[in-house]
Amino acid sequence: MEITINHYILLSFLLFAIGCFGVITRKNLIIVLMSLELMLNAANLAFVSFSRFYNDNTGQVFMLMSLVVAACEVAVGLALVVSIYHNKQTINIDVLKLLKG
């Protein structure tokens, strides 16, 4: 069986859906962050696949860019998690609802 662009897109979609599901359903902040990372990388995969498909390097450049941003984001996110844990003694995301109307 030949691996076509469709397979890559399908994989990317599945990864994104799993990540999205994780963000919505999980309560643990770290797992939420991990799921977010999964969604980002799904997008990266789509970038690279299209880059190869169209023979255009721009997609790869974007992927590298978003990798760097994701790394920063994780660093900041984890720092926030630590800080939240210091304050609340928990990283249950449902406890953080100060903005409830």
């Binding site: 999205c20 999980r26 309560k27 995301i93 953080l96 109307g101």
Partner: protein, 652 residues
């Protein structure tokens, strides 16, 4: 110079008020009293001397336009240009002389009368302030400045009526005077607006020269002039205590007695008469307005005289007498006999101030007792007071050759000669009643049997010389004051023409044609003179009969079933206060309650409903802020899916 007359009383008020009444300088009562009296009296004396000097200049120069002094421009707005200017002409000079000299005498009298009062400096400050505003009223050369004085004397009157504000009743009396005057001031203010509308200026000389100009007046509807005249009269009715707005004046007797003499007898209440004289052009141009003024004046004079007949408070009798005499003045100015009205104003200022000060002297001697039923036979104890009081009472009764005789007779004569026959008849009866109630007051207070209680009897004493000297001066003026205006027809007998100097002096400043009597009348001048003398003497005789000769007859009449109710009605002031309470005061309260409810339910209610709707809406919307991050993410995803679905659906 004119400016100084006005400034001096203000300086006196400022010094007394800022230095002593405010407590800035603390001294023992006696030395404070001395300084305050000197400041208060000397400022008025200086003003009086300056105004006398100006008056002599005015006579010598024979200048009917008067002395005008424009100090500075006060208000400029569009066409409106009001200067802070003063006018010292024949009319205002007469008023100024009365105000400053009678004011000075009453200031001197107050030194004795207020001797022991703890607010001595405050009293003199208010009194000076009153003189200041009164002078602004009569000397202002435009309507707004006159209105400033008009309101200012109202304020001073309010402050002095409620001088002893510890007593709630007295504080209320001050408030009543202020509120009732507001109704009149409202009319005056609208009249000023109308005058500006018609004449485009508020300066006396501009307005009156235009109003006296026939070509200008052709384009002005007569109804407009009538409206202006009547609205001005509404102002005069309030300030000069005419029916139906007179109710504040009897209550105003709550103030110290010299105040009643100065403000509520001699000067402030005559401001309305002055104003009508000043605005003579409007009244003379409108026969309807004149008729209404005369009718109200005659009715007030008669009505107040009937009440004065049965009052038992010495000051109340004088208060109703003042209302009645003000009615006489308005009769004079109402029919166009402006000089006669002004003449009665001057003589009345003398003898009514005298009577009030005499009453004050009695009250002072009687340890603040004002009920004439508890007096009697005071002549022995108060020789000077009783004699001067008798002079005043006879002058007001119209006894021949005293001042009241000349002035009242001129008004009555003019009333008849200008065709107000019914008014004349009522006025003659009023003159009789005047003599009756005044002599009743004199007999009950000074003659007959003593009804003074033991405790008061021991302290009975004649007043100090600061009080008796003004009484004597005023008594002399009450006797001689009439001779500046002896009627012309009396002078003719002695071969003197133009003997009525006062009349010619005042008329020179009034831009209206003097009325000359036309045709033949049933009564001649002399018949009218005799008629008013008879009325006066009859009144005095009746008073003697009922109160000295046969006091028991009076009881029979007052207890009589057929006319006893008349006595009761008079004693209860014809229940006018009760009627006003039930109609206007209660009506006003009910309207206030209704409008309060309207405000609470409709105005506030609407706003409250709107506010609660908005807050309910925001409560509802804030429910969407769950606060759960996961829920937000879920909603976002759901929304994204929906958008993508729609995109795909529309693309195909």
């Amino acid at each position: 110079m004119i400016f100084l007359i006005i400034l001096l009383p203000l300086i006196g008020a400022a010094l007394n008020g800022l230095l002593f009444s405010s407590g800035l300088i603390k001294k023992d009562h006696e030395s404070e009293r001395r300084i305050v009296s000197i400041i208060g009296c000397s400022s008025i004396l200086l003003a009086a001397l300056i105004s006398t000097y100006l008056f002599i200049q005015l006579i010598q120069n024979d200048n009917p336009a008067g002395i005008i002094q424009n100090s500075f421009t006060w208000i400029v707005s569009g066409e409106l240009n009001i200067s802070f200017g003063f006018l010292f002409d024949n009319i205002s000079s007469v008023m100024t002389l009365v105000i400053t000299w009678v004011g000075f005498l009453i200031h001197v009298y107050s030194i004795g009368y207020m001797h022991n009062d703890k607010s001595y400096a405050r009293y003199f400050m208010y009194l000076n302030l009153f003189i200041f505003f009164m002078l602004v009223l009569v000397l202002g050369n435009n309507f707004p400045l006159m209105f400033v004085g008009w309101e200012g004397v109202g304020l001073a009157s309010y402050l002095l009526i409620g001088f002893w504000y510890d007593d709630t009743q007295k504080a209320y009396a001050g408030r009543k005077a202020f509120i009732v005057n507001r109704i009149g001031d409202f009319g005056f203010l609208i009249a000023i607006f109308l005058i500006f509308l018609v004449f485009g200026s508020l300066n006396f000389s501009d307005v009156f020269s235009q109003a006296a100009n026939p070509t200008f007046m052709e384009n002005v509807p007569i109804i407009m002039i009538t409206a202006i005249a009547l609205l001005l009269f509404v102002g005069a009715v309030g300030k000069s205590a005419q029916f139906p707005l007179y109710v504040w004046l009897p209550d105003a007797m709550a103030g110290p007695t010299p105040v009643s003499a100065l403000i509520h007898a001699a000067t402030m209440v005559t401001a309305g008469v002055y104003m009508v004289t000043r605005c003579a052009v409007f009244f003379s141009a409108s026969p309807l307005a004149q008729f209404i003024v005369v009718t109200i004046a005659v009715f007030t004079a008669f009505f107040a005289a009937t009440i004065a007949l049965s009052q038992t408070d010495i000051k109340k009798v004088l208060a109703y007498s003042t209302i009645s005499q003000l009615g006489f003045m308005f009769m004079g100015v109402g029919i166009g006999a402006y000089a006669a009205g002004m003449f009665h104003l001057v003589t009345h200022a003398f003898f009514k101030a005298l009577l009030f000060l005499g009453a004050g002297s009695v009250i002072h001697a009687m340890s603040d007792e004002q009920d004439i039923r508890k007096m009697g036979a005071l002549r022995k104890y108060l020789p000077i007071t009783s004699k001067t009081f008798l002079v005043g009472a006879l002058a007001i009764s119209g006894l021949p050759l005293l001042s009241g005789f000349f002035s009242k007779d001129q008004i009555l004569g003019q009333l008849y000669e200008r065709g107000f026959t019914i008014h004349f008849a009522v006025a003659i009866i009023t003159a009789l009643l005047t003599a009756l109630y005044m002599m009743r007051l004199y007999f009950l207070t000074f003659e007959g049997k003593s009804r003074v209680s033991e405790g008061v009897m021991k302290k009975l004493h004649e007043s100090p010389s600061t009080m008796t000297v003004p009484l004597i001066v005023l008594a002399v003026l009450s006797v001689l004051g009439g001779y500046v205006g002896v009627p012309d027809f009396v002078g003719e007998i002695f071969g003197v023409h133009h003997i009525n100097a006062f009349k010619e002096f005042v008329w020179a400043a009034i831009p209206v044609e003097q009325h000359h009597t036309l045709g033949h009348h049933f009564f001649s001048h002399w018949d009218l003179l005799v008629l008013s003398v008879v009325a006066g003497l009859l009144g005095i005789g009746l008073a003697y009969y009922f109160y000295i000769y046969r006091p028991k007859h009076l009881n029979k009449i007052t207890r009589n079933e057929d006319f006893g109710f008349l006595y009761n009605a008079s004693n209860s002031k014809w229940y006018i206060d009760e009627v006003y309470n039930h109609t206007f005061v209660r009506g006003f309260n009910e309207i206030s309650k209704l409008s309060f409810l309207f405000d609470l339910n409709i105005i506030d209610g609407l706003i409250n409903k709107l506010a609660s709707f908005t807050s309910g809406l925001s409560d509802f919307i804030s429910k969407f802020q769950f606060g759960l991050v996961r829920a937000y993410a879920a909603v976002m995803t759901a929304g994204l899916i929906v958008i993508i679905y729609i995109l795909f659906a529309t693309l195909n």
